[in-house]
Amino acid sequence: MSIQLTFLLVYFAAMVVIGVWVMRRSGAGPEDYLLGGRSLGPAVTALRLQSSSMSGYMFLGAGSLGYTQGYFGMWYALGDIGGGIINLSILGRRMRKLSQILGSITSIEYLEHRYPSKWTRLVAAPIALACILFYVLAQFIAGGRGLEMVSGVSYPVALAVAVGVIVLYTYLGGYLAVAYTDFVQAIVMLLGMLWILIATLWAVGGLGEGNRAVAELDPNLLTMWGKDLAFQGEWGIIVGALLVFSVGYMGWPHVVVSHMAMKRPSVARSAGVYALGFNILFIPGPYLIGLFALLLVPTLADPELAVFKVAETILPPFAVGIVMAAIMAAIMSTADALLLQAGTIASQDIYARFINRGMSDGQMVWVSRLIILALAVIGYAVAAVDPPGVAAVVIFATTVLGSAFVPVYVCAVWWKKANVPGAIASMLVGAVVSVGWELADLSSRTGLGPMLVGMVCSTLAIVGVSLATQRSHPVPERIRRAIEETAKVGRIPASLLAGQDSQLAAQAAIAGRE
């Protein structure tokens, strides 16, 4: 067995041990399974937020962008660096408080409670589920490819092992296991990325010398305008690239659920600082490694393998094993969060809400696990038979999620006039416009990215439709009071928690205090 594979197996085993350890500490109810009992501190919140949103894209897609477009790829990185602090500063404390007042334990249920209509959930759940399935598919492909490279086994076998490990520890302890493994994986990712970045810079003679050598190949690669200067003056595309991973991921249900799981509202402050620090250290790495791969592995047939190949070329075998573990960490930390979220949406937000309302909590957890298994099998089948490109799938799925959900999540806590018709119109317009823009390839014709167009349209929809329907569909008084209370920095009055789910530990504590 190669030393790389040994490292990887040790790493997989360590993740399972963490999952089992956390499972023994977890309670059995839905709040424990889906929100970790709202018990997460700043470091776990921040690193879970970052690692679950970074994915195999950072090692495959980002490296590929650096390799093919040079410093143009940095537009994505520069937006991404601010993603955590934007998310936590705009949504963090308010979403934590409002979700608690409304008694919500899933990010889609939260939308239905804030915009009280079954149609809110009927529209939100399928859009989120479809995008998450696309996204998780990309993670499976990335995991399978990585494992195939390290182990030498065939792609279908490597894919089966990667999917099996991800499902196993998603099963173990629900959200808490996922959050703690994501936390550990974020640290592994950071160390692996820094190691390979430092080795890359060493191999090319430093940043300045590496840039000089790249300029000899093609000086355009050092500009922010891409190879052949194709994006010069294309500000619509550039703003879209900046938005997709900064503002965009305030609309990702599997990411914003982190706000609801924070132990205390003040966690948002320190988590924001941790997230920014992590991002500054981690995010530019794969883009730079991809760029300098042009010097180290100049004849790559598949640019998505740039980071893998650089690691294999310049690092000693044991270090390649550690870096591969970091790569698998990025992939698995996103895939488990996605699978858990998909299972939650399918079981809690669709099955338990519309099909079998009498399920017990224990049954709900088991339905969620069965659905996760079914989704993993479907994902495996698609990824094994006809795997699409990872970067394209991730950018497509995240663009649709951002376009459909950013305005409804932001307006939920910041604008009390946002009502049911406005929210439904916004989600539908955001999803339809961004998908249509992508399918019709309107970006190249108009110079405007789908993210930018999708978000502008969905924002206009929620504002326009909400204002136009204020008389026919006023926001209920109890929701208005909840939003007014959410705007205040302070403890939740017990009167606002009356009639909510007494099983929610944090609410019970507050209700008992007053």
Partner: protein, 38 residues
């Protein structure tokens, strides 16, 4: 600097600097968040 065009340098240093300033402003404005802790 780093053998890069000036605009590239301005962006790769300037945008992260903007996020650091943003974070500092957020920390200042949210200094009373612990009042909401249970």
């Amino acid at each position: 600097m780093f053998n890069l065009p000036p605009f590239t340098v301005a962006m790769i240093l300037g945008v992260p600097a903007f996020w650091v300033v943003y974070a500092a402003v957020f920390l200042y404005l949210s200094r009373n968040y612990d009042e909401a802790d249970e």
